[in-house]
Amino acid sequence: MDYPEIDKYASIDSPIHNFDPRAKIITFMVMIFSFVFLDTITKALVGLGIASLIYIIAKLPKAFVIHRLKVVFLFLFPLLIIMPLSVDGQAIAQYHSITITLEGFQYSFLVIIRALSAVTLALIMLGTTRFDITIKALYMLKVPGTLIQMLMFTYRYIFVIIDEFQRMWKAMESKGFKLKANRYGLSVLGNMIGMLIIKSYDRAQRVYHSMISKGYTGNPRTIVNFELRTKDYAIALSMILIALLMHTYHLVL
């Protein structure tokens, strides 16, 4: 079965892959925050350039990021239409009472570029680490237990639910069902999603029983062996410096 695995390429060997997961999360978060606060298109483009460079260093396949960025772009695209119409500024075209402004275009470009570089960085961060390791790194970084458990169960059971959905779908298709965008199709789809929710409720009950029977008391505990080496400090330090320089270079230069 083909799962949409985010950590499909986590076993590649690259400096980013070998970067300590805890340091990776902190460094990338700093960089993401730095890049989304950049205030001009030029700076934002430099940010996107740096993100792409890290992407090349990480040796991830092209399709991995492009495919996902397409989805992100779909959400961002409306900005290109809405902002030129709604932001005040120098008009570049006018039709009756509707004006299109240059500032609007600039703003929407800025937002889109910043978002793309942030998403690229986030994808590199998640794509270069096995997801269970990412969760453990968050655990080591003292992220609240409830959040860790939610992530853990989501990661574990998303595939089980996908399987369950596909089994139901095949069963329906084998009885001649074809999804059409009409009332009947939607009601069948609704029933199916309802069934999935009931099934996962039952499963949650069984999983809980099996957790209790292994002595679960509410705190996730696990054993992790991470070790920060000199090279981790070096990578983290240089990336954080870049992130800071993007905002403070005019003070230094």
Partner: protein, 302 residues
């Protein structure tokens, strides 16, 4: 001999009031191999959930090695009784196999070295060495089933409870699992198993309880399978070998005890042939077909 499990007058109803278990009395000695059979919805899983305190029962209804289960601490309880449930996807709830197998030992408060040792030991016991970093959704059903067993073995429980361990397995995986369970029992672990797989049952049981909300029968496999009324009432059937030899007796084959497994059948046949004149004698007489028909009818559900 020490009593491992004693259940006395256990009654339980589901939250909506439907009775699930009535007046259950069970005594299981240390080291015994017990199988619990019964139709779908007979309450086997519910009974199991009481045996390690996942479902709470009234005082002194469930005693584990002479101690009231309700008074035991969590760490103590999971050290005594381990349950392997039916669906492995319900039990492998951690991101990797290592985390799953380590889950129980960590909760028992063991130190890191010991936890790692136990994970290693448990995985090699079920033949999954080197699977530590694998994620459950990439495993086959049989592997998941064995991983789920390892996740319980790592707690090194003295009593091992298995719900339908052989269901949905291919014959090889099924045989492997039966072997593992029997090895564990030989090491002194008390095993309690719920199953519908009557052909595997004789291999996994010294004694059988028949459960249908109440305990409706108890005895060794041979006694249970000879009671056709009981089997019919509880939607069960006898192993094929057992029935085959019963049919052979209608043809004049002379044996007082019927074999429960292929191995036993070979042994019995050899013995009969050797004690006779080097062959066995089968024949037809006027009532043979009538007898066979009657026998098969008594074991048939239709």
């Amino acid at each position: 001999m020490k009593e491992a499990i004693r259940v006395k007058e256990l009654t339980y109803s589901y939250p909506d009031g439907t009775p699930a278990l009535e007046d259950i009395d069970i005594t299981i000695n240390e080291g015994e191999k017990i199988v619990i059979v019964g139709p779908n919805g007979a309450g086997k899983t519910t009974l199991f959930l009481h045996l390690n305190g996942t479902l709470k029962s009234q005082d002194n209804t469930v005693m584990i090695f002479g101690k009231n289960l309700g008074d035991m601490k969590v760490e103590e309880r999971i050290k005594e009784v381990g349950i392997v449930f039916q669906d492995p996807d319900d039990q492998l709830f951690m991101p990797t196999i290592f985390d799953d197998v380590a889950f129980g030992p960590i909760n028992m408060g063991l130190d890191e070295e010991e936890v790692k040792n136990r994970v290693k030991k448990a995985l090699s016991r079920v033949g999954l060495e080197g699977f530590e970093d694998r994620v459950p959704h990439n495993l086959s059903y049989g592997q998941k089933k064995r991983a789920a067993l390892a996740a319980v073995l790592s707690m090194e429980p003295r009593i091992l409870i298995l719900d339908e361990p052989t269901a949905n397995l291919d014959p090889k995986s099924r045989a492997d699992l039966i072997q593992v369970i029997n090895d564990l029992n030989k090491d002194g672990i008390t095993t309690v198993i719920a199953m519908h797989d009557v052909n595997a049952l004789p291999l996994l049981s010294d004694r059988v309880y028949v459960l249908n909300r109440k305990i409706v029968g108890e005895g060794n496999p041979r006694e249970i399978f000879s009671n056709s009324e009981l089997l019919k009432m509880t939607h069960l059937e006898a192993p094929d070998v057992f029935k085959m030899f019963k049919v052979l007796t209608c043809f004049g084959y002379d044996c007082d005890t019927l074999p429960m497994s292929i191995d036993e059948a070979v042994e019995f046949l050899t013995r009969t042939i050797e004690s006779g004149s080097g062959h066995i004698h089968l024949h037809l007489h006027e009532h043979t077909h009538e007898e066979v028909r009657k026998f098969l009818h008594s074991y048939n559900h239709h």
